[in-house]
C-alpha cells in the first residue's frame, strides 16, 4: 500500500496533476465593494468624531442656546460677533502672537537646521532638540508660569546680577505677558520645525550642493539661492501645521495668563472657551468657532497652494 502510493506519485505525469487548477470566482458585487468594506470602520469612526461635531456646531451657531431649549435666531450670532470688540480683540491677539511666534520659530529652526544638518553629530542634535516637544504642553506652561510669574525665578536671577532693582511685574504688562506666551511656544515647538527642516535639508541632492560649491557659491549663498527655494513646500506645510496649532492656542493662555491683563493675551480659543463654558452662551461660541474654522482653512489653502506652485513653476 505504502509502496504503491509512493510509486504512484513518481510515475504520475506532473502535467496532468499540477496544471488542472480550478479557478475560484468572486461575485462582481463583492469585488467592487470589498475595498470599501475594509476601510469602512475607520472612515465611520473618523466621521463620527470630526464631521458630526462639526455639523453640530454649525447648526448650533444659528440658535441661541443657554442650557434650555434652542431658540432659532438666524444669523443673529454672526451679526453680534461682527460688532463684538472682544471677539475682534481676540482675533487680533491670536494673529499678533501667532505671527511673531511662528516667524521666530521658523527663523530659529532654519538657522539651526542649516548649521546642524552637515554636522556628524546631527543625530545627537535631533534627539537633544526633541526633548522640549516630549513635555506635556500644560507642564511646559506651568514651568514657564513658575519661572516668570509665581516663583519669580527669572526676576530673582536678574536681581542677583544687579540688572534690575525689584521684581519684574510681567503679568501686569500686556506686552510682557504676550512675550511670555510667545517664549513658551517658541521653546516648545521650534524643535518640531527643526527636525522637519533638517530632514528636508538632508534629503537634498548632494550633487546640487557640490555643483554650487564648484560654481563658487559660499554656504550662505547656497542657502539663499538653492536650499531655501527648494525647501519652500516643506516650510509651507510645516508652517501650516504649526500655524493651526498656534491659532488654536489654549493651554498656555489658560494656565499662564488667563487672557489677561485686560484681555491683552486672550486668543480666539480662549474667547470661545469663555463664551461657552463661563457664560454658557453655546450658540454664540459655536458661531465664533465656525468663523475660526473657515479662516484657518482659507489661510492654510492659500499658503500651501502658493508654496507648491512656485516650487514647481
Amino acid at each position: 500500500m505504502h509502496d504503491s502510493s509512493l510509486s504512484d506519485t513518481r510515475s504520475a505525469p506532473a502535467t496532468t496533476a499540477v496544471t488542472k487548477t480550478r479557478f475560484r470566482r468572486r461575485s462582481k458585487w463583492l469585488r467592487a465593494w470589498f475595498p470599501y468594506l475594509l476601510v469602512a470602520p475607520a472612515v465611520i469612526y473618523l466621521l463620527g468624531i470630526t464631521l458630526y461635531p462639526g455639523i453640530y456646531a454649525i447648526v448650533q451657531s444659528f440658535y441661541a442656546v443657554k442650557f434650555g431649549p434652542w431658540n432659532p435666531v438666524g444669523f443673529n450670532n454672526y451679526v453680534k460677533l461682527w460688532g463684538d470688540y472682544q471677539f475682534w480683540g481676540a482675533l487680533w491677539n491670536t494673529l499678533l502672537m501667532g505671527t511673531i511666534s511662528l516667524t521666530l520659530q521658523c527663523v530659529l529652526a532654519l538657522t539651526l537646521a542649516f548649521h546642524a544638518y552637515r554636522d556628524p553629530w546631527v543625530r545627537g542634535w535631533r534627539i537633544i532638540f526633541l526633548v522640549p516637544m516630549l513635555f506635556m504642553p500644560s507642564a511646559v506652561a506651568f514651568i514657564y508660569k513658575l519661572m516668570f510669574l509665581d516663583a519669580r525665578v527669572f526676576s530673582d536671577i536678574l536681581i542677583r546680577f544687579g540688572l534690575v532693582d525689584g521684581n519684574l511685574a510681567i503679568q501686569s504688562s500686556i506686552w510682557g505677558s504676550r512675550a511670555l506666551l510667545i517664549l513658551t511656544d517658541v521653546w516648545q515647538w521650534t524643535p518640531f520645525l527643526f527636525i522637519i527642516f533638517v530632514a528636508a535639508l538632508q534629503g537634498q541632492d548632494e550633487e546640487i550642493e557640490e555643483a554650487a560649491r564648484l560654481d563658487g557659491a559660499t554656504w550662505a549663498k547656497i542657502f539663499w539661492n538653492i536650499s531655501l527655494p527648494l525647501m519652500r513646500p516643506v516650510i509651507a506645510v510645516a508652517l501650516v501645521i504649526r500655524g493651526i496649532d498656534i491659532t488654536t492656542m489654549f493651554a498656555n493662555v489658560f494656565i499662564v495668563t488667563k487672557g489677561g491683563p485686560a484681555f491683552g493675551t486672550e486668543t480666539i480659543s480662549y474667547f470661545i472657551y469663555r463664551t461657552g463654558f463661563k457664560f454658557f452662551n453655546f450658540g454664540y461660541a459655536s458661531a465664533a468657532s465656525v468663523i475660526m474654522l473657515v479662516l484657518t482653512i482659507i489661510v492654510a489653502q492659500v499658503v500651501v497652494k502658493r508654496a507648491f506652485k512656485s516650487a514647481r513653476g
Partner: protein
C-alpha cells in the same frame, strides 16, 4: 588653462582604500579620460582634483601650485555631474548664469556670456524653461553650458553621458570633444564606457582597485595593453585569453596551437588574441590555430560575433557580416600571428 599633477595621491576611509598612490600628469589643454569599472577609484580621483574630497596622502598641483588646502570653490574648476545637478528652482538661463553671479562677473557681461554658452550647446530656445521641463539630453547640455560659461581653468566630467540613450550619447560625445578643442581647456573625463574613452581621449588612464593600470593614448591602450585587465577591459567583445604552455617556442593549449611565437620564456603562459584578429577558415586542411564548436552566432549588422566552445572556454571571434552557422558545427580558426599578446599567467603582466 592649466597643467595638473597628482603625486602619490591616495584616499582611504579607515581600512578601505579608495585610491592607492596615483601619479598622473595631465598636460595643458589635454583631454584625459579616467577609465575603469565601478569602484575603481576614478570618480574619487576626480573629486579630489575638484576639491570635493581631501586626499589622505599625496599632492595635487595645478600649474605647479599645491592645491590640497585650497577650497573647492577657489580652484576655478567646473564640473559636469552624472545626475546633471541643475538647480531645479531656477530657469536654464539662471542656471547657466549662476557661476557668473557667484563670481561677481559684471552684470552687463553676464547676459552675453550666458547666451554664448547656450548657443554653443544649442540650447538658446530653452533658456526660460526650468530643468524639469527638459529632456535628458537637453539637461545634459544645460549642465555643460553651466560648466563652460565662465571658461574655467579645468573641466571635470563625471560620467556625463551615462544617463542618455545610445544615439544621444554618440551625438553628445562629438559635441563635448568639439567644445573642448574649441575652448582649449584641460579636461578630466571619468567613464566606465570604453568606447567613450577611446573616442574622446587624448590619453586614457585605466584604473582598477584604486590603482593605475596603464596610461597611454587610445591606440597604445588598445594595441599595447600592459596587463590582462587592460586587455580584457578594452574592446567589445573583449580580448580572448587562453591559458596554455610554451613548448619549444610554440604555444600549446587545449585545441589551440600557435607555432613559433617568438617568446623566450617557457612553461605556463596566457595568450591574448582580439576577436577581430581571428578568422574562420573554410576547410580543415587549411592552416589554422584553433578548433571549436559553434556555441553562438550573433549578427550585429556590420559583423557577426561568433562564439566558439573551445575546451572548457567560450571564445569570441568577429566573423564576416554574412557568416552564418548552426550550433555545434566544428569550425577552424586562424590567428593573425602579428597580433598575439602574452601575459604572465600568475601576475597578468605582459610578457614580451
Amino acid at each position: 588653462m592649466a597643467q595638473i599633477e597628482l603625486k602619490g595621491v591616495s584616499k582611504r576611509w579607515g581600512a578601505v582604500w579608495g585610491v592607492r598612490k596615483v601619479d598622473i600628469e595631465i598636460a595643458d589643454k589635454e583631454l584625459l579620460v579616467l577609465l575603469g569599472p565601478s569602484g575603481c577609484g576614478k570618480t574619487t580621483t576626480m573629486r579630489m582634483i575638484a576639491g570635493l574630497e581631501d586626499p589622505s596622502e599625496g599632492e595635487i598641483t595645478f600649474d605647479g601650485e599645491v592645491m590640497n588646502a585650497v577650497d573647492a570653490r577657489d580652484r576655478d574648476v567646473a564640473m559636469v555631474f552624472q545626475g546633471y545637478a541643475l538647480y531645479p528652482n531656477m530657469s536654464i538661463y539662471e542656471n547657466i548664469r549662476f557661476p557668473l553671479r557667484m563670481r561677481n562677473v559684471p552684470k552687463d557681461k553676464q547676459d552675453e556670456l550666458v547666451r554664448r554658452a547656450a548657443k554653443m550647446v544649442e540650447l538658446s530656445d530653452y533658456l526660460n524653461r526650468k530643468p524639469g521641463a527638459l529632456s535628458g539630453g537637453q539637461r545634459q547640455r544645460a549642465a555643460l553650458a553651466r560648466a563652460i560659461v565662465r571658461e574655467p581653468q579645468i573641466f571635470l566630467m563625471d560620467e556625463p553621458l551615462s544617463n542618455l540613450d545610445a544615439q544621444l550619447r554618440q551625438a553628445m560625445r562629438v559635441q563635448i570633444k568639439y567644445i573642448q578643442r574649441e575652448l582649449q581647456i584641460t579636461t578630466v573625463y571619468v567613464t566606465h564606457d570604453q568606447i567613450e574613452a577611446m573616442t574622446l581621449a587624448d590619453r586614457i588612464v585605466v584604473m582598477q582597485g584604486g590603482a593605475v593600470q596603464q596610461v597611454g593614448t587610445p591606440d597604445e591602450i588598445y594595441s599595447d595593453p600592459a596587463n590582462t585587465f587592460v586587455a580584457s577591459f578594452i574592446g567589445a567583445p573583449p580580448m580572448n585569453l587562453i591559458d596554455g604552455m610554451i613548448k619549444d617556442g610554440n604555444f600549446v593549449a587545449d585545441h589551440v596551437e600557435v607555432p613559433d611565437v617568438g617568446i623566450k620564456t617557457t612553461g605556463q603562459i596566457r595568450l591574448g588574441i582580439r576577436p577581430e584578429d581571428c578568422a574562420v577558415v573554410s576547410s580543415a586542411e587549411q592552416r589554422h590555430n584553433m578548433k571549436g564548436d559553434v556555441y553562438g552566432v550573433e549578427p550585429t549588422g556590420d559583423m557577426t560575433v561568433l562564439t566558439l566552445r573551445v575546451g572548457e572556454k567560450n571564445l569570441e571571434i568577429k566573423a564576416d557580416r554574412d557568416y552564418r552557422s548552426e550550433l555545434g558545427v566544428q569550425e577552424n580558426v586562424v590567428f593573425d600571428t602579428n597580433r598575439l599578446y602574452f601575459f604572465d599567467s600568475q601576475s597578468g603582466e605582459r610578457v614580451r
